[in-house]
Each structure stands twice: as C-alpha cells, then as structure tokens.
Symmetry: C2
C-alpha cells in the first residue's frame, strides 16, 4: 500500500491516520476534511457554548501542525463528492469549486453522522439551531452574543439536549426542555431518567415529557413551539437535538452494503463490502460485544477504537474490533449518569432472560463526612447469572463514571454477577466501602434470583 486516503478528519479519521503512520512510516496519507477543523472535540461543543471553554480553538485534540507533523497531508475545506471504486479515486471539490481526483490504494470513510432533522414546521426560522458541527456552533454562538436571548427551548432530552440545558442555564438563559418520551435520557431506565429530571427542575430547567413537538413559529419577537396535548411555549432561541443519523451517502453510491439505521456495514477489521474501501466511526454499524452482532451506537470512544483498527487493517494488520458495550457517561449539572451493556428490554429482545435489581448505596462509608447516594441498576441473565448491563446515577463526586468502567471491564470478560464479589477492588473509608457498592448490588441480585428460583420451584 502506498497511498491511504481518508475522508473525514474527526475522531475515527484521525485515529486511523495516526495508527497507520505508527505502524508504517512509508505510507502516504491524505485526509480530506470538509471544514477547517480537523480533530476537533465535537463532544466539547456544549462547554464552548456554556462559556466554560472561552476559545473554540481549545477544543482541538491536536493542532493542525501536530497532524501534518505526523506526516498526514490535510486537504481542508475539501468535500469528497464521489468515489470511483474501480479506478480507485475520490472526486473532491474545494472551496473555490475546483474539482480534482485523488487516487488511493486504500480508502477509509470516516464521514461521521449528522443531526436528525425532525419533520416539523419552522426548522429554518432564525433562532432555530441544530448542534453537531463546528459551523452550527459558531452560528449559535454568534446568535447568543448578538441577540442576547433570555430564554431557550430545547427539543430533545438526550445527551446533547441535557448538556445544552446545563450550558444555557449556566449562561444565564431560562431553559425549557421538551422530550417526547415519558422521561428524559432514554439511554437509561425511567426510574433513573426521573432522577435526572428532578435535578433539571432543581436547577431551574422546566422539563416537559410526553410531548411531540409539531410546529415552530414566529410570534412577535419570540419563537413559539407547539406540540401534542395543547403544549405551547415561547423562547428566544430553539435548539433541536433529536439524535443523529449516519452519513453513508458516499458508501451507498458505490454499492457498499448498508445495515442498521442505514449505517455502513463493516467487518470487524472495518472493511466495507467494496474492495479496498474501509469505514469507521459514526457512519458505520458497530459490532456489539454482548449482542455478538451489529448495532448503531455512535460514540466518540468507539470512533477512536474503530479508527485505530481501520488504520491497522489498511497497512496489513489483522486485529479485530473487540466490540462496543455502549459504555457512556454524561454530566448534567451536578449529576453524572453512566451506563454500560444492555438494559432489561434490550436483553430480553436479544433472547436473554434478564432480571434487573435497583439499589441505592452510599459512595463511601457513612461515617466519613460527605457520603452521597448512588443509584445502581444491575441487569443479568437469570439462567446463567451472566452480567448483561448496568446503569448508575450519582453526583459527579461519587465517581460514577469510573465505577461504570469497572463494570464495563467485567462485562467485557463475560463475568457472572456472582463473580463480581471476587474482584479485588480498592477501599478506603473516604472513597468506598469494603464491598464496593457494585458488589453489594451483585450480592442482592444473587439473593433475589435464588429467591425467585425457589418460588418458581414451589409453584411448579
């Protein structure tokens, strides 16, 4: 392989380029980036808009010089328009509308995802914003500075919606959040979502669930958002954050097989169905380690891992992507909400016989000052005792993010709930308890399961 071309300069693309370079100092690497911001932390945008990150340049994981210094040729403000899979070239157009063809030996598509655009009226009104790219953030930042809005309405109670509720409240706006589901943060169970809602209310965010937004309109100087059940609210700015979808058009145009939710189907070495074309990150299907099959789960961590695998594959490596567990955490005001693996309904749909235990524990020994509650839901298979997933909510001081990492590592190794008590975890009274709270919950799970078995036997 002499020329590697990568379309996309975010997490997956950069990881692929750096890994290929690390393993092969001779390969030529060209990266086609449609804006001027390679390797920016998209996950950091809410903190830029909150004012916590004063300068957007800080969001760069690496400077442009660090990237080119690693021997990666950057074509900024260049859009890949088409691929010639037989001829092995990519047609690229630059900002001056000049078109050129770039030949590749191997091609990695890391085109990412885009914000889903809901089918409601008024999406293009001034003051209505999506949030996914650097460009859309700049537009919003400009509007926030120029128009000094006093109120914001956020459509969508997922990660971005919640982080932006936090960000805009911090910025002094009065925030209303609308979620069409029964509780916010659909990635965790409703009992935990409800805790997040309570925190939002406590911080002054008005939360309305079970509402399908139907229309955004201008009314005098405000935007008016109306929805099912006669819902109506006014705001100076509206943020639409109802999820993302894969950008798979380039791959689709060359006949690459697509999978779940229209994402590019890839092997565990990140190969598409088209020879010499690979793909990674938010544009592809992700192999799930518990499901042992593909799913669509766009996350930055996964994009990094898949990019690294793709970068290894194209220079001759044979490493397999180990799979996602869907491990994720979000900070919303003073709460951290984390999960890994499957929730009960996902586990049931996958053919498991799940039992979920929810417990409330203190993050450290009660006698040491400052102990706070952590809510943990542990899901495991009744028949085998195998751990299937966990969800956790606690204040950011309760180390919820890293506790979920331990469970993710346990899940990676297909541990049983019983075996969690065998793990030799750290303890000091200010930071934990002799049995970590996850072990206490595991022991409670085992007892409940035994009890259920006994009851079932008696009935039988």
């Amino acid at each position: 392989m002499s020329h590697l071309v990568i379309v996309g300069g975010s997490d997956a693309g950069i990881s692929a380029a750096l890994r290929a370079r690390e393993l092969d100092t001779r390969v030529q690497i060209t990266m086609i980036v449609e804006d001027a911001f390679p390797n920016y932390s998209i996950c950091g945008l809410p903190f830029y808009l909150s004012g916590e990150v004063p300068d957007y340049h800080q969001l760069a994981h690496r400077t442009r010089e660090e990237i080119t210094g690693a021997g990666i040729d950057l074509l900024l403000d260049h859009t890949a328009q088409a691929i010639g899979p037989e001829a092995h070239h990519v047609t690229v157009v630059d900002g001056a509308k000049q078109t050129q063809q770039i030949a590749y030996d191997r091609l990695i598509l890391a085109t990412g995802a885009k914000s889903r655009r809901p089918l409601i009226g008024g999406m293009d009104l001034p003051g209505v914003f999506p949030l996914h790219t650097m460009e859309s953030s700049f537009q919003m930042q400009h509007y926030l500075q120029a128009s000094s809005p006093r109120s914001a309405l956020i459509i969508g109670g997922g990660y971005i919606g919640l982080e932006m509720a936090d960000a805009l409240t911090r910025r002094g706006l009065s925030v209303t959040l609308i979620e069409h589901g029964a509780s916010v943060l659909k990635t965790v169970d409703p009992s935990l979502g409800t805790l997040v809602q309570a925190e939002l209310w406590r911080q002054g965010v008005a939360v309305h669930t079970g509402i399908q937004v139907q229309q955004i309109a201008t009314q005098q100087e405000h935007l008016c958002v109306s929805g099912t059940g006669g819902f109506e609210a006014h705001a100076d700015i509206v943020l639409v954050a109802v999820g993302v979808e894969p950008r798979a058009e380039l791959a689709q145009a060359i006949g690459a097989e697509l999978g779940t939710q229209g994402a590019v189907r890839v092997s565990r070495t990140m190969a598409t169905s088209v020879p010499d074309v690979f793909a990674a990150g938010d544009c592809v299907e992700t192999w799930h380690r518990v499901l042992q099959g593909p799913t669509y789960l766009p996350l930055g961590t996964t994009a990094h891992k898949q990019g690294r695998i793709a970068g290894e594959t194209v220079v001759g490596g044979e490493r397999l992507f180990a799979g996602t567990l869907g491990t994720q955490v979000v900070k919303v005001f003073d709460l951290a909400i984390a999960r890994t693996g499957l929730r009960e309904h996902e586990a049931r749909a996958a053919g498991f016989d799940p039992l979920t235990i929810e417990g409330t524990y203190l993050d450290h020994k009660v006698y040491y000052p400052g102990a706070q509650t952590v809510h943990l839901r542990l899901t495991a298979d009744r028949r085998t005792g195998r751990l299937l997933g966990a969800q956790m909510v606690g204040s950011v001081q309760t180390e919820v993010a890293k506790r979920i990492d331990t469970l993710a590592t346990a899940l990676f190794h297909t541990m049983t709930v019983e075996a969690l008590s065998d793990l030799d975890l750290s303890y000091t009274p200010p930071l934990g308890s002799p049995w970590d709270l996850m072990q206490m919950c595991a022991q409670q799970w085992s007892q409940t399961n035994v009890h259920r078995e006994q009851q079932t036997e008696r009935r039988a």
Copy 2:
C-alpha cells in the same frame, strides 16, 4: 454441621458468620469477641482521631442488634485461650476471669493482626501509642483531649502513619513523620512516594526519611525521639505505626501449619491443616492471583472476601477464594494513592520480565476547567505483554481509586497491555478523555516495548 464457632468479630469473622447464616438458616453460630466492639471499622480509626467522625459508635459497620438479629450469638469481652482440636472445643475466659469450654463442629479463626512492636527503648512511656485496636484509640483520644498535645511525632510512613499525619494535622497538631525507608509509602515506587512526601510538606508535615529510630525518651515535658544519623526531634505525643503481624498463636498451639510471616496457612477454601478448623482475614496467608501462590497482605477487603468464603465452606460450599491482587488506596490530605498487582521488583522476583512505564496525564480533557494531573505507573511482562500491576497518584477529585479498580478488573482477567485499548470505557469531557489515561499509558507501554525489542534485535 450444627454449631459454628468463630473467634474474632471483625471483618473476616462477621463476613463468615453472615454468609453461613445466609446459606444455612439452621446452623447455630457463636462468635467470641475479645472486646466490646464487634464489626467495627478499624480502617476508620484515623478519622475518629482526626475529629471527622465525632462519635466512635459511628464506626460500627453494624449495630450489635443487627448482628444478634441475624441469629449470631455474641460473646463479648471473651478471650479464646486454647483450642482442643480432638475434643472440638474452645476454652474461653470472660472479663470476670470465668473459664468455660465451648464445643464446636466447625471453627473459624478470625483473630486478625496486631501492631508490630519495634525494638526501641521507651515504647511504654506515657504519650507513646500504637494504633490498631479500639482500645488503643480510646487511650490515644483520651490523651489528646486531656493533655492537649501541640506536637506529634509519627514513626512509620505506611498507610496508618500517613493517615494519622493527616488526622493530627487536621486536629491542629504540628506533625513530624519518620520513615526508615528512602521514601514514604513503601507500597508504591519511590517516584510516587516522593509525590506523597511533597504533599505532606505542602500541608505542613515535616517528613524525614532514611532514619532508623533508636530511642524514645522523656526530656523535661516532652518526648524525645532519636535515631540514626544524629536525628533528634521532640514531640508531645508519639505514634508508632510500623506495620502489623498476624495473630496466629491459637492456630500455632494446635499445630496448624504456618506460612509467610508466621500467618496461618490456608487452602483456597480457607481450611487450615487441622480438621474442622478454618481461618480467614489478617491472621492468614493470602493466595495471590498474579503470583499464583501465598503471600501476607492483610487488607480489610480481603478479610471480607475470605470470611465470606470460610462461611460458605463451613456449611458445605466449595467456592474457592479467587485471590488477592493487593488492590489498595489511601487518601492523604488532597491526594489519593492507589495500586493493584505487582511492582517491578516483585514481578522480577516472581520470574516475570517486567517493564514499567510512568506517565503523567490529565484526568479529563484539558479544555474543560479543573483538569488535574494523574501519575500512572504500568508494569507488564515484556515477553507476553501481560499486565502485572499499576500504581496511581492524583488528587482525590481525579477518581484514582475507581480507575485502579478498572485495572484491577483487567488484572483479574489476565489481560495484556495491548488489550486494555479494547476496553469500552466511558467518556465525557468533564470526566475523562476518549482514550482513558490508562489506555494512553498502555499504548505508550506497547510502543516502548516494541522499540526495545527492535533495539535488542539490532544489537543481536
């Protein structure tokens, strides 16, 4: 089995009793406790002496009523004096010097450890204290209240010594700490111990290393501590914390096999070499999961786990103790210091070919306010790439304790350093980075090892 007798009412004893009760509702359980404080958190004593825990009763993991309510008969202020292994009875003496014999079907020894008493003069002077039991804490608390000492000298820079330096500083005393090794906290490598020393100095603790204390004497109204190299310091109170040793006398007297450092030798079901006599906790040898052999590593977490296994064994269970990794964490002022597995010299002694990488990382993305450094040392085997151990130091906000738990879980599963990058860990900019710092360090380890291999090949 109809009568289970347990000698000792701390972590191992209580865990054994509760587990036996959980699995067998009919077994009679008698617990012989030499003081009036069953199931107290000995690990919490420094926080009682610091004043952070105002009432020592708060240190009880469970109330006496909770223990007896679980059907465990408590014989408080009773000392087990001898065991009749043939007759299956324990000779017990109570506070009124009354002796009785208690018959057992199975016996669990959970007699714990005691403070090591160094061979220096002046150990019995007023104002000189060890710290291990509730009783010794009460004596020290009384002295602190009655004599209002203004300065303290601590002999020993291990966990207890460091926690007490923190505690007594918090209480307003001027503290000097003497360690005979080259750096404090010998459980981590000197480069990390040095960071702990810097924190002690920053907090006003005078630290002197490389000094062997030779004598404690009274000089006017003070205590004078002298040591090698002409060292001399005065203080109003002296705390001696130079480690612990197993209390194995009862077991030894019946011919039970002893092992490392005089601890009772046990199987992985916690059986001693004497029929129907089991042992667990700080009085026994601990099976080490990486060494695949016995060691002496008295820790509360291990005592709980071994007790649980012993409780299961005596009622007919066959579960094996999964082994210790020596996972531990201590909070010293604003620092948390954690480790798991082997250090380089331990790994080499065990026949591995270890390489250790030390890196400094930020606990979360640099652009989000409040990022702080974490120092990580990762040790793995050069030939196999197998992870062998890790040590970490960071402020208590950097989630060091729970990060080490993830590495402990990886170690539990015999992961390679390479595979650490496959772990699907959580990420949000305020709490981490897309590759967790342990994955960054792992990647650095792999590169260094490859580099070394290449150099070796070139030389060969």
